[in-house]
């Protein structure tokens, strides 16, 4: 598999050449194959523990590179969704930045993704279709989605997690470029 940095550079140059397509599959098999290849590369980030821990299946988050159940037990919570249970919100321990003295990670507005955005345990194809579905991606259109993955500070934490946590591969800018190239090549999804 091509390293993510080289793939991102190719994606950047390709995005200049490829006209922005509709938010759907391309009719051109070669372009569709290329689009899927780009998404598979982006999937190295999407399916990385730094991302999946906060996009858990079910209500309970996981932690560490091994994705073990979070200690203490915390849940997604409903009011507001993603910020933990009353009495034990995420903000009880996680603050605006990583804190080496206690080893507790932190970032702006630390919280879990909504249940509709659960990725853990799902195939890359399922995640792809989920990301494209405004009913399951927080109502984002593709421009908003690309901005979110490229600029959101909490997303960006995945590349600067501190401690012994393995960062997501590449950089946030490269990930954003990959996602943009995927979209501009037709936003095709792997079958599985």
């Amino acid at each position: 598999m091509m390293p993510i940095r080289r793939m991102a550079l190719l994606a950047l140059s390709a995005s200049v050449m490829v006209a922005a397509g509709a938010f759907g599959q391309s009719g051109d098999p070669q372009q569709a194959a290329r689009s899927i290849a780009l998404f598979r590369e982006a999937g190295k980030v999407l399916q990385h523990p730094r991302c999946l821990n906060c996009h858990p299946a079910g209500d309970r988050t996981t932690q560490t590179d091994r994705m073990t159940p979070h200690r203490p037990m915390v849940i997604r919570g409903a009011k507001p969704e993603g910020f933990g249970a009353p009495g034990l919100p995420c903000g009880a321990c996680h603050h605006a930045a990583n804190y080496d003295e206690s080893g507790v990670p932190g970032g702006p507005r630390w919280h879990l993704a909504p249940a509709s955005m659960a990725w853990a345990g799902r195939s890359l194809g399922e995640i792809c279709r989920q990301i494209k579905d405004p009913a399951r991606n927080g109502g984002l259109n593709m421009a908003d989605l690309l901005k979110h993955v490229s600029e959101n500070e909490l997303v960006g934490w995945a590349w600067a997690p501190g401690g012994k946590r393995t960062p997501a591969p590449g950089t946030q800018a490269e990930f954003g470029a990959l996602m943009r190239a995927w979209f501009e090549s037709g936003a095709a999804c792997p079958a599985e």
Binding site: R71, P72, M73, V74, I75, A85, P86, G87, L88, P89, G91, A92, C93, H95, A96, A97, Y99, E101, S102, G103, V104
Partner: protein
């Protein structure tokens, strides 16, 4: 070292410490408020819980520089009807055994009752499971929270 002015228990206190010092050490070592306990230093046990605004916060995991203008309330400063109901329930149920974890338990219980007027057993478990008790007073804690909720009309 830098000077930090903290809003603490309805007063204002100033300290000269490194900005990355855990709030817990500032409370205990610099300000003499030893009701808040050190347990694990890694936000795993809840013994160091204080209020930062309305949020029950692990003070071992919060650098003093991050407190800003937030209002800190420690076990020495909790007050009001919810705190009073919790205190009465804790005494009536004779909740503490060794007592070491109890200031954190009480802060979390107050936070829960402020958020949910009549918590279920599950609500209590979800809110309190970040506060460990090596004497295993969990059953009395849960009963005392129900008692306090009833007293508060929940």
């Amino acid at each position: 070292m830098a000077r930090f002015t903290l809003r603490l228990n309805a007063t204002t206190r100033s300290v000269d410490v490194d900005g990355d010092t855990p709030l817990l050490w500032v409370l205990r070592d610099d300000l003499g408020l030893t009701g808040t306990k050190f347990g694990c230093g890694a936000a795993l046990c809840g013994a160091c819980t204080v209020f930062l605004g309305d949020v029950p916060t692990r003070s071992c995991s919060l650098p003093v520089a991050a407190v800003g203008s937030g209002e800190i309330t420690t076990i020495e400063g909790v007050s009001g009807p919810v705190a009073a109901a919790v205190q009465r329930a804790w005494i009536a149920r004779d909740v503490p055994q060794c007592g070491y974890c109890q200031s954190g338990q009480i802060i979390s219980a107050i936070a829960l009752l402020k958020a949910i007027r009549k918590p279920s057993d599950r609500d209590i478990d979800l809110a309190m499971n970040g506060n460990l008790c090596r004497c295993a007073t969990y059953v009395r804690i849960r009963a005392a929270i129900h008692d306090a909720a009833r007293e508060l009309g929940g």
